[in-house]
């Protein structure tokens, strides 16, 4: 019987052979990512009596969730992390100016095919966009791995998702994922490895693949995967990842899948997740006309360069509707620099957007909070109650194009109507 990507990745990381789903193994991850939660790991290490680190070069820290610090307490946490990184020799340390951890690590060549990467963030599934096995864990597990180098992992079953394209006009990777999450539910892929295949996936950019793999978490996936190809290779080359430093792992043609899901991108329409769950998904037409107070274009799901470019296309020459706040938070400083140099930032500013520094921003509840009764249309990956300010506010999720169209009209709108 052939093996899935997950079986191969965990065999590589555990040194064991012939793993089958359900088995529990000790895996040795290649990279341990911790974001602003790094201070919790450091405090835990202190509690353990400062044991020796297994391999400091596998530690990556990115200060993204609360960046820059918003009060003396969080500033103290940041100081603790900086001090620890310097004392311990953590070279993969990125401060508050870098952006969202996942995107920062990928664009700097620190995420490579075949690797097992754990992170203190559920959306670590995103690393599958480069053919890596990424999964979220708690901070105690990161600290334990700092010390022991290993972590228990259950070998997951796999789900194969086939996406055929090209996508209908006005629809994007976000719409594909919202439709899929709506179809199989918030727990439809719990504990599973989700592999994305099909003609549309092959034609996608790495950025779009990030959106797929990121949102796989919202159906409960343990990890996600897109087979590395020439597109992946070109991205990695530009990011400075030495091809000799990684091994591409591909599922066998006769690998066993728990289920196969198909999304026909050609007949897709823009999708919206309505409050308060991500699997509460409807076509945009069903909620079109809903008044919004704020639009947020940000997060590791949809604030990459092409996401900002799509939003700028919709907003070019137009202005944000009166009374609506448009907040744009680029995913990384590199993305922001590129968007600034080619006019995207000025287009957004001219339309009336507030552009914040790169990072998690309003998605993590920092800046862009809502008052009682307010509504935000967001490109992020979660619409849970109270996530952005008041417990009595509402969050709708959709693509950057739908968000931009909604900002222009002041009500949830189908982007098709505004795309030239």
């Amino acid at each position: 019987m052939g093996r899935t990507f997950a079986q191969k990745a965990l065999e590589r990381a555990s040194g064991e052979k012939d793993l089958v789903p359900g088995q529990i193994v000790d895996a040795f991850p290649d990279l341990y990512m911790s974001h602003t939660a790094s201070w919790r790991c450091i405090r835990t290490l202190e509690r353990m009596g400062w044991p020796e680190l297994y391999d400091v070069d596998r530690i990556a820290m990115v200060m993204d969730h609360i960046a820059p610090a918003d009060n003396a307490k969080t500033a103290g946490y940041h100081a603790l992390c900086r001090d620890f990184a310097q004392r311990s020799g953590v070279r993969k340390f990125f401060d508050v100016n870098a952006g969202i951890a996942h995107v920062v690590l990928m664009e700097r060549g620190l995420v490579k095919p075949g690797e097992v990467i754990i992170g203190t963030d559920s959306h670590s599934t995103i690393y599958g966009a480069l053919g890596a096995f990424g999964t979220g864990v708690g901070f105690s597990e990161i600290t334990a791995t700092w010390v022991t180098g290993k972590l228990w992992m259950k070998v997951p079953e796999s789900i194969r998702v086939e996406v055929d394209g090209p996508l209908a006009r006005g629809t994007y990777a976000k719409d594909v994922m919202l439709r899929l999450i709506g179809d199989i539910g918030a727990d439809g892929a719990t504990y599973c490895s989700v592999e994305f295949h099909g003609s549309y996936v092959e034609a996608m950019s790495v950025s779009e693949r990030m959106t797929l793999c990121n949102l796989a978490m919202e159906m409960g996936a343990k990890n996600a995967f897109v087979p590395p190809d020439a597109t992946t290779r070109a991205y990695l080359d530009e990011a400075g990842a030495d091809p000799a430093s990684y091994e591409v792992l591909l599922p066998d043609p006769d690998a066993e899948y728990r289920q196969v899901e198909r999304v026909d991108g050609r007949s897709l329409v823009a999708q919206v997740a309505v409050p308060h769950t991500v699997d509460n998904v409807v076509p945009v037409t069903e909620v079109a006309g809903t008044k919004v107070d704020q639009v947020f274009i940000g997060s590791c799901a949809n604030a990459k360069y092409d996401d900002l470019a799509i939003a700028a296309d919709v907003l070019a020459g137009k202005t944000v509707a009166p009374g609506v706040r448009l907040i744009v938070t680029p995913a990384s400083s590199r993305i922001m620099a590129k968007a600034a140099s080619d006019g995207i930032v000025s287009t957004l500013l001219a339309a009336g957007a507030t552009i914040t520094n790169p990072g998690c921003g309003a998605c993590a509840g920092v800046g862009g909070a809502m008052a009682d009764g307010e509504v935000t249309f967001s490109t992020a990956n979660r619409n849970f109650q109270g996530r952005m300010g008041s417990y009595h506010s509402r969050i709708y999720l959709g693509s950057p194009a739908t968000a931009a169209a909604t900002a222009v009209r002041g009500v949830i709108s189908d982007p098709q109507e505004l795309l030239a």
Partner: protein, 170 residues
């Protein structure tokens, strides 16, 4: 003397897809103290739910309990509130890991969930693999040995500290 592996008491019952932002809102993640976190557990659902949580020993839920964020405080805030076990139809994988790794008993037992009433008494024996509700007893697959030792040590970090100490004593 064998260690007791049963935990139980009054149950508080929730529905499906209870997410981490509801269990412990992101704004409180600036703490890792269980008692401090417990004050804000389930805050979005209002003070009445919070009060009932504090009077309960077992959280009972439907499908996909703890979906969302990887925040470990979703488990520790429950421990701080005096919860000894969570019985659910199913868990999100990160919540399940965090529960074991912080020493919180988490078992999947749909039949028991059907039988438990809000405010009723529940007893979970994770060695026997049983959930007792009134006169009914429901079974679930016991933990693999590797996970059980972590749980019984009080979580992953206490487990590693104990192992390191044992190693030094040689």
């Amino acid at each position: 003397m064998s260690m007791s592996t049963a935990v139980g008491g009054r149950a508080i019952v929730f529905g499906d897809d209870v997410n981490t932002d509801v269990i412990i809102p992101g704004r409180y993640l600036v703490s890792i103290d269980p008692a401090e976190l417990a004050e804000h557990a389930f805050e979005p659902l209002g003070p009445e739910v919070q009060q009932r949580l504090r009077e309960s020993a077992v959280v009972v839920a439907g499908r996909n309990f703890g979906c969302g964020s990887a925040r470990e405080q979703a488990s520790t805030c429950l421990i701080g509130a005096g919860i000894g076990a969570v019985v659910a139809r199913s868990f999100s994988r990160v919540f399940f890991r965090n529960a074991i790794n912080t020493g919180l008993v988490a078992v999947e037992c749909p039949d028991a969930v059907d039988a438990i009433e809000d405010g009723g008494e529940v007893l979970v024996d994770y060695t026997a693999g049983t959930v007792t509700v009134g006169s009914g007893t429901f079974t679930f697959a016991p933990y693999p040995p590797g996970l059980r030792v972590i749980l019984e040590a009080g979580g992953l970090i206490p487990y590693l500290m104990r192992e390191a100490e044992a190693g030094q004593r040689g």
